[in-house]
């Protein structure tokens, strides 16, 4: 990937952050911390890696993305909207009555959603089943699942981890958005599942630790998939909670954000300033 493409991806990620804030503008609340920490990964998946057709969301050959940590739904809504799955005006209905974009995703309400997640510890099993189903019908589509770090305390994840390795599902990649914070505090203090990569490796996964907010590293990681033939891939994405909101980064309470107008404006100004800078940078790179 050249510099221009990388800058374009970074710009897209910031535009998606702006989409998240558009949802927060509508509702004045939302799980912002995890949506922002996972933004580079989800943006790179949809705009660089995945083979998808936004106008044909049920196309059989599509790659699948599941948000196991369903509370990060704003990241997926933001990226799907940017990708053209639905009109951006839908973002203004976040938090509203009968919205298509509820707090946790619903596959029957919005195109592009693959699973009804929200209860933690479900996504990896569903993703493993998809990967197994696709492989057994010789469909080359890939499956990507994004989990939270606090979510790893759910035992069902480890059932899925064993099954995916046992069935050698190298068409499955899981990301752990390791921003290190959950509602009650530091993940390691609440319930320690580190070292995450080593745990999955012990189950038979091929693993990598990366900086999940560094778009270049994210792209290089996606280029390397599957890490090993015959093994599912696990990316421990070291990220920053509320990445891109200078006054919220690495603060546990930004897991769920209920900003007043001034804080929201400050956040929007920050993101828009980065969008402007990246647009300028892109023009310069192109020139």
């Amino acid at each position: 990937m050249n510099e221009r493409e990388l800058t374009q991806l970074r710009l897209t990620a910031e535009r998606c952050r702006r989409n998240v804030l558009r949802m927060v503008e509508a509702s004045h609340h939302g799980h912002l911390g995890g949506a922002f920490s996972a933004m580079e990964i989800v943006t790179a998946l949809y705009f660089y890696k995945m083979n998808v057709r936004p106008g044909e969301p049920k196309w059989e050959g599509r790659d699948r993305f599941l948000l196991s940590a369903g509370h990060k739904s704003m990241v997926q809504y933001a990226v799907l909207a940017e990708k053209g799955y639905f009109d951006k005006s839908v973002l203004d209905t976040y938090g509203g009555f009968k919205t298509k974009i509820p707090g946790h995703p619903d596959m029957y309400k919005l195109p592009g959603i693959e699973a009804n997640t929200g209860a933690l510890g479900h996504g990896l099993s569903i993703a493993a089943g998809m990967a197994l189903g696709l492989r057994s019908q010789k469909n080359d589509a890939k499956v990507y699942a994004l989990m939270g770090d606090g979510e790893l305390a759910e035992g069902s994840n480890w059932e899925a981890a064993a099954a995916a390795a046992h069935y050698r599902l190298d068409n499955l990649t899981a990301f752990v958005d390791f921003n290190g914070l959950q509602i009650s505090g530091r993940v390691q203090d609440v319930m320690n599942y580190t070292p995450i990569a080593e745990h999955f490796a012990a189950f038979g996964w091929a693993v990598r630790d990366i900086d999940g907010n560094d778009m270049k590293q994210v792209v290089e990681t996606l280029d390397a998939l599957p890490f090993e033939k015959g093994k599912p891939s696990l990316v421990v994405a070291h990220t920053v909670k509320a990445k891109g909101l200078s006054f919220g980064e690495n603060i546990a309470s930004f897991h769920y954000w209920e900003p007043d107008d001034a804080a929201l404006k400050k956040g929007i100004d920050e993101v828009e300033a980065r969008i402007e800078a990246l647009e300028k940078e892109l023009e310069e790179v192109q020139a």
């Binding site: 596959m107 099993s125 569903i126 493993a128 197994l132 019908q137 064993a162």
Partner: protein, 317 residues
């Protein structure tokens, strides 16, 4: 009671295997439970369609949902409490809320795993499964009906829970009857009392009807192999024609078939309903026949409860 006794698990496994010959989408998932669910031959015949996961019912339920999204029809059978209670949230969200076409079958249902104790009994599976919107709950009553219900379950688009027992069971009638999800069966007409039964107890309800007849009581017998959605029309027919209903099930007497019948009656045709089953306790253990006798779910017990109910007359408000 007609013909030789047959093993419900083997009957079920064979039925699914036969249907799988015609439909490549059918796959079998196992939580170390497939061989004892009648799938040994299936596993040998279709190794590429038989998936073993070890003892992880939560994981397998999610995996079943994922496979179903790709067009497969997963069938997952294990001991009843482990595919209903253990994995309840996965059933609710991944199969129910996601409306996936997967079939979960609870075997050794009720207290048929009698001597293994309450951890292995399922006396609330109807109650918990019927609360998940869109889930069909089946309890076939005979070997032929297990075959027919398996076909109906696999032809139905959407999540299904079916329970089957463990001890060998007899046929209820000659030949295979048509099985329609949501339809009850008038097995014997009567005018003093309508007994609505499901699953394993229906054969005893039929025997009880004979005993009751000998005592001058005319009992209508309705077989209700679909617990949910309940056959409202059939319940209302019994309520209006007979005016006194007793439900029989190898399940807690609250929350299952009795409750479903009572709901229909309460809203549309209020008649006395005696809900007969296991009281709200952790059932005792021992030989199956002794448990049936203890909980009055054999022919003698059903007869006794029916006579007592009859003797109470109608409600006086």
């Amino acid at each position: 009671m007609i013909g030789e006794l047959k093993d419900p698990r083997k009957t079920f496994g064979k039925a699914v295997s036969d249907l799988a010959e015609q439909d490549e989408r059918i796959v079998v998932l196992s939580a170390d439970s497939g061989f004892s669910s009648g799938f040994k031959e299936f596993a040998a015949a279709h190794p590429d369609r038989y998936f073993e996961f070890g003892i992880m019912e939560q994981g397998v339920t999610g995996i079943a949902a994922g496979m179903a999204t790709t067009g497969k029809i997963p069938v997952f059978c294990a001991i009843a409490p482990f595919v209903t209670c253990r994995n309840y949230e996965m059933f609710r969200n991944d199969l129910g809320y996601m409306r996936q076409n997967a079939k979960l079958v609870g075997r050794n249902c009720g207290f048929t795993y009698s001597d293994l104790g309450a951890t292995h009994h399922s006396l609330e599976d109807f109650a918990v499964m019927r609360m998940i919107p869109g889930v069909v709950v089946l309890a076939p009553q005979s070997p032929d009906e297990i075959r027919a219900a398996s076909r109906a379950m696999l032809e139905h688009e959407g999540p299904v829970y079916m329970r089957i027992g463990n001890p060998k069971i007899p046929e209820l009638y000659d030949g295979e009857r048509e099985f329609t999800i949501g339809k009850g069966q008038l097995l014997r007409d009567g005018s003093d009392l309508a007994i609505i039964s499901t699953g394993s107890t229906t054969v005893y309800a039929l025997e009880a009807a004979q005993k009751l007849a000998e005592k001058g009581v005319s009992a209508m017998i309705i077989g209700m192999p679909t617990v949910s959605p309940i056959d409202e029309e059939m319940v209302l027919m019994a309520a209006k024609k007979v005016g006194k209903i007793m439900t029989v099930e190898e399940h807690y007497c609250r929350g299952g078939l009795g409750t479903l019948v009572a709901e229909v009656c309460a809203e549309k045709a209020p008649v006395p309903v005696k809900m007969h089953g296991v009281p709200q306790e952790y059932a005792t253990s021992g030989p199956y026949e002794e448990l049936l006798r203890y909980y009055k779910l054999d022919a003698e017990g059903i007869t006794e409860v029916a006579l007592e109910f009859i003797s109470q007359g109608s409600f006086v408000l």
